[in-house]
């Protein structure tokens, strides 16, 4: 590992939560605008997290604290591995550590709200994990490698070759962003039903840790999206901007749905789109 990539990793680890927080702030403003409200200041997510960090600690058991920390570590590690341009599939598996520990943290308390939230979170992971693997395999089909260094070096925007797989990736992004219609495990809006699901039992500094880890995750998923347009910075920017705007629009125009619907719909549509895109690729190569 040379000096350049070490610096790159450090920069990524410092700026990812900043970018994630800003994104959350902009997101809230735009959502408010969509709903005819004024909305909080752009920096509100940072104010929230700083305030949470200063609060008293309160937990049900030690495992919650342990799990929150592991979640943060694994999210940071997967982003660092991305910055080092290593293997996509490996990064995905490292990210799973955090997701699983988040569920364990929620399951470790006997509260019915967080228990149900954890079960739903597992279903959400079950929904997006195969899709992400399929997307990576699709990228491998085009570029011949799972290594980000080789994928970045590919000379055409992958988006133009795998447009449908990009759509599949945005399903995973929607679930990871906890946006409607897939916000079933930890949503603000479902509070009458499950309070805040997996996050119910977290408060104060530990909730702040989860929030920061979440920002890392979002930046990582967006970074994976950016691999679809690596040939020019402008193309990459527009791809990401349009994707995120579309996420906000979808969030605002769709209702929250059940896990059964989510699982069957996302798998059916996702797998069909993937197979269709693969078939197109095969057809072209003849």
């Amino acid at each position: 590992m040379d000096i350049k990539s070490i610096i790159f990793v450090i920069l990524a680890l410092i700026f990812a939560p900043v970018a994630g927080g800003f994104l959350a702030g902009i997101d809230r403003r735009l959502t408010a605008w969509c709903q005819g409200r004024f909305g909080p200041p752009i920096l509100q997510p940072f104010y929230d997290v700083f305030k949470l960090l200063g609060k008293d600690r309160q937990v049900v058991n030690t495992w919650q604290i342990f799990c929150a920390h592991i979640y943060l570590i694994s999210s940071m590690l997967s982003l660092a591995l991305f910055a080092m341009q290593s293997d996509l599939l490996m990064i995905f598996f490292v990210m799973t550590i955090g997701a699983v520990f988040m569920v364990i943290g929620a399951l470790s308390t006997p509260s019915p709200y967080s228990q149900i939230g954890a079960q739903r979170e597992l279903i959400q992971m079950l929904t997006y994990e195969p899709l992400l693997v399929i997307v990576f395999v699709g990228i491998y089909f085009v570029t011949g490698s799972f290594k980000i260094s080789d994928i970045v070096a590919y000379d055409r925007p992958i988006f133009l070759i795998l447009p449908l797989l990009y759509l599949v990736l945005t399903f995973a992004l929607t679930i990871k962003l906890r946006k409607s219609p897939f916000d079933i495990s930890a949503c603000h809006h479902g509070h009458q039903e499950i309070v805040r699901g997996v996050l119910t039992e977290y408060s104060g500094p530990y909730l702040a840790i989860l929030e920061i880890a979440h920002w890392y995750d979002i930046v990582l998923i967006l970074a994976i999206c950016s691999l679809f347009w690596t040939t020019s910075a402008i193309g990459m920017f527009f791809l990401l901007a349009i994707t995120y705007l579309a996420e906000i629009v979808i969030d605002n125009i769709t209702p929250r749905l059940t896990w059964k619907w989510m699982l069957t719909y996302v798998w059916a549509v996702g797998i069909t789109l993937s197979l269709f895109n693969m078939a197109l690729l095969y057809a072209k190569s003849f």
Binding site: V100, I116, M125
Partner: protein, 641 residues
């Protein structure tokens, strides 16, 4: 030196097993522990050396080949006797179907003179022998204390432990023989010994259900035995050598031998309980836990995948190979799905075992160097972690009286040590940077050119995460209260658990070295391109890389940091509160979570996992799974005709 070590690993357990029949507890303990230490040392010494081949002319002064033939017939007639005792015509027919071809083969077919050595050991055999000798012995040692408790619990009048340990120890010898045998007739003999032992061990408790399940295991494995012996007859009839190494490494033989190789693979599928034969392994869960652990982690089922992996170079690049990949991936997917529908801990372990074996078979079918590396590594890591999990469930069951995972809620407060060890077992089964996940990563990357296979692996691995993740969480479910009491345990239980838990972590850490030293030499014989290189703790090939050491380093630091942050010193006792239940706690005792019902009756909150029984219950989907898998199996076998 090598020949003595092989002798110790194969013949010593056979002799010690007979000693175990003497009903004396101290003698039995000495024999079991002594044999375990001896075979473990022998396997460790064998690893020091290179690949070897031996050709013992005589055993105890009797011509070796003749002795094996006589024992073969003796064994088959014993099974025939059992079928008479069970009044089971199916088993009788399947046994006769083996006796006749065997007699035909031994008496009438004299193919080319068998010049190949009878015993051959390369790094693959050595890895298998290490697993069998070390993990298998630990399980047997654990069994000493477990069976004591088990018989006490069942109020058995006259101890039947002699018989029990006879078959347990015999199993180790048979498995070692199986992995070192090069002569296929020898391999067949050891194969049938494991079938008989597993039958005897499954029906050990003698209950109706145990006998029924043991009978099912017997006929399914005998079906595999019929395929095995038919394969041998065809090989001999075609004038091909009845020797493993000659079969896979002589150029030109492979294309001639596809039908017998297909039959041998079929035998491997039955022994590894691939769908539609999964029911024998699930049924075997009625046996005492050490039996489940021995049969389903380190021995028995591993014999099947070992044979398929051994034969894989013989069918590389054929359509048959693709179908094997598809078949294995289908098993992986469907049994992982079935595992989600289960709340019985041992059933979950059983389905997860079949699922992992399916992935190994799929890797053998993908048949690229990366896939073969994944298959061999997965055998190792699965054996360690699954052996550990079985022993943990056994220990937990003897304490809490249930093997249902819903009853394991809050286990961390009742049995803190065993629960922590179980957590290590589960984490090493499905999370990075541990070996099982490393193999899964290799398998997915290797299968990337086979769309259907990679799709099934991707979905199946998400299922895997669901059932392990929630079990892990349940074990932790607790509210802080008074300090936890570490539970008391016999060292015969504690030591195997701790050794296996440590091994699960350490062997994962040294995976790159293990690969370079033990797996690479096996692969280099058959494949020249696209091999993984393990340098400085990182696996690299032309399409991917997995950084074992860096991830390990960061996660170890991370776990230390997380443990420090959650330690008693950092978190004040005041910080602990009770969970949020909208203010419905019992005001007198806030730890009690529930609500007052309509008549002032107290009701506790209860939550449970989603088992989705209405969707994916065993009874609901097993039929379909068996139907589809039988279809794939028939296509697979007609393909080689």
């Amino acid at each position: 030196m090598v020949s003595q070590m092989v002798w110790v690993s194969i013949v010593l357990p056979f002799l010690a097993a007979i000693g175990c029949l003497i009903d004396s507890k101290p003698l039995r303990s000495i024999l079991v522990v002594g044999t375990g230490v001896a075979v473990s040392l022998a396997s460790l010494l064998l690893v020091q050396g290179q690949a070897f081949s031996l050709n013992p002319e005589t055993i105890f002064g009797i011509p070796a080949d003749g002795l094996i033939a006589v024992l073969d017939f003796a064994l088959l007639f014993v099974i025939l006797g059992i079928s008479y005792q069970l009044k089971n015509k199916l088993i009788a027919v399947l046994t006769v179907l083996q006796i006749i071809p065997l007699a035909f083969l031994e008496l009438f077919l004299h193919g080319a003179e068998n010049t190949a050595p009878s015993i051959y050991g390369d790094q693959l055999s050595m890895i298998m022998s290490l697993i069998i000798s070390i993990i298998g012995s630990l399980i047997c040692i654990y069994g000493l204390s477990y069976m004591e408790e088990h018989e006490h619990h069942l109020h058995v009048e006259k101890s039947r432990q002699g018989r029990f340990f006879f078959f347990m120890v015999l199993f180790l010898g048979a498995m070692n023989g199986l992995v070192f045998a090069n002569n296929l007739l020898w391999l067949y003999f050891f194969w049938e010994v494991t079938t008989l032992c597993s039958f005897m061990l499954i029906k050990h408790d003698g209950t109706d259900i145990a006998v029924a399940n043991a009978t099912r295991a017997l006929w399914m494995n005998m079906l595999g035995g019929v395929a095995f012996i038919l394969g041998l007859v065809i090989l001999r009839a075609k004038g091909l050598p009845l020797a493993l190494q000659e079969l896979i490494s002589t150029p030109g033989v492979a294309s001639l031998a596809l039908l017998p190789v297909g039959l041998l693979c079929f035998a491997g599928f039955t022994k590894s309980a691939q769908v539609p034969f999964q029911s024998w392994l699930c049924g075997a869960m009625v046996a005492p836990t050490p039996v489940s652990a021995l049969l389903h982690s380190s021995t028995m089922v591993k014999a099947g995948v070992y044979l398929v992996i051994r034969l894989a170079p013989a069918f590389a690049g054929t359509l048959f190979s693709h179908y094997v990949a598809l078949f294995g991936a289908f098993t992986f997917l469907t049994t992982a799905l079935l595992a989600i529908s289960q709340s019985n801990g041992k059933k979950i372990l059983a389905y997860s075992t079949i699922s992992n074996l399916g992935m190994i078979i799929a890797c053998a079918g993908i048949n690229t160097p990366a896939a073969m590396a994944a298959a061999i590594l997965l055998i190792v890591f699965h054996a360690i972690s699954k052996g550990l999990m079985f022993l943990c469930v056994g220990t937990i069951e003897q304490r809490i009286g249930s093997r249902d995972i819903e009853d394991m809620r809050g286990l961390i407060r009742i049995m803190p040590r065993t629960a922590m060890i179980a957590v290590i077992g589960m984490v090493t089964m499905f999370l990075p940077p541990f070996g099982a996940l490393l193999s899964k990563w290799m398998a997915v990357e290797a299968s990337a050119r086979l769309p259907l296979v990679v799709l099934m692996l991707a979905i199946g691995s998400a299922f895997t995460m669901v059932f392990w993740g929630r079990w892990l969480g349940l074990v932790m479910t607790s509210v802080m209260g008074e300090a936890q009491e570490p539970e008391e345990q016999s060292p015969l239980v504690r030591v195997p658990l701790v050794i296996l838990a440590a091994a699960a972590i350490v062997v994962s850490f040294v995976a790159p070295g293990l690969y370079s030293a033990m797996v690479l030499p096996v692969l280099e014989r058959f494949y020249s391109t696209d091999l993984y290189i393990a340098a400085q703790g990182v696996f690299i090939n032309n399409i991917g890389m997995f950084a074992v050491f860096p991830i390990f380093l960061v996660m170890v630091l991370g776990v230390a940091w997380a443990a420090r942050a959650s330690s008693g010193k950092r978190v004040h006792q005041r910080a602990y509160s009770t969970p949020y239940v909208a203010g419905l706690q019992d005001p007198a005792n806030p730890q009690r979570i529930g609500f007052k019902g309509p008549l002032g009756q107290w009701a506790n909150f209860t939550t449970s996992n989603y088992y989705m029984d209405a969707w994916i219950g065993e009874g609901r989907i097993s039929g379909w799974i068996n139907l589809i898998s039988s279809g794939i199996l028939i296509i697979l076998l007609t393909g080689v005709l």
